[in-house]
């Protein structure tokens, strides 16, 4: 039973570029949440997808967008990258019916230069 998988593991982009990160949730999970974790800080909630719709959103600008596919996998897109977008991006999956633990992927380390 595969856990949460994210790709790529590392990425280097230039300011102004666009990036797409991918996440496959744990088998049986229907909800995907994305978090941004800057170095030395706790993860910050970006948004959550359920039934292919954005259900909740944190305090992030519209440059951050996402998508969920019928197989529950998800993408996070960031446009017009800024240096401050450099961080570890974590995907977490859960089962919406139960307000319990979130399973995190290993993350994508994004560096903007």
């Amino acid at each position: 039973d595969a856990g949460v998988t994210q790709s790529p593991t590392h990425l280097i982009k230039t300011r102004g570029q666009q990036v797409t990160l991918r996440c496959s949730p744990k088998s049986g999970h229907d909800t995907v949440s994305w978090y941004q974790q800057a170095l030395g800080q706790g993860p910050q909630f970006i948004f959550q997808y359920y039934e292919e719709e954005e259900r909740q959103r944190g305090n992030f600008p519209d440059r951050f967008s996402g998508h969920q596919f019928p197989n529950y996998s998800s993408e996070l897109n960031v446009n017009a990258l800024l240096l401050g977008d450099s961080a570890l991006y974590l995907c977490a999956s859960s089962l919406r019916e139960f307000d319990t633990e979130a399973f995190f992927g290993q993350g994508t380390r994004l560096t903007v230069v």
Binding site: S33, F45, Y50, Q56, L90, D99
Partner: protein, 112 residues
């Protein structure tokens, strides 16, 4: 919005000493979760507390949820080098979907 504060930010202990991290919220929480993140790793779920005054134990780890459901603590007895990492508390959302608001974490370093 909801904010969760966690102290201390760092803690150095000698192996065998105890360790405690504290989590506080300005609002009443529906539940609190604890995660551990090893250096270079990702957060791994430890436990969820839901009830006022709840206490749960996992071997050397003891988790408490305050009576007012505004604070929580994690206590590790007789730390080991394998306990090294950052411990985060995370407030669960009031709506379904488990949106988490994380504290800043406490980084635990253990000297052998």
């Amino acid at each position: 919005g909801q904010q969760v504060m966690q102290i201390p930010q760092y803690q150095h202990v000698q192996e065998g000493e105890d360790f405690t991290t504290y989590c506080n919220s300005s609002t009443t929480l529906s539940n609190i979760q604890w995660y551990k993140q090893r250096p270079g790793g990702h957060p791994v779920f430890l436990i969820q507390l839901v009830k006022s005054g709840e206490v749960k134990k996992q071997k050397r780890l003891t988790f408490q949820f305050g009576e007012a459901k505004k604070n929580s603590s994690l206590h590790i007895t007789a730390t080991q080098t394998t306990d090294v990492g950052t411990y985060f508390c995370a407030a669960g959302g009031n709506n379904a979907g488990n949106m988490l608001t994380f504290g800043g974490g406490t980084r635990l370093m253990v000297k052998p």
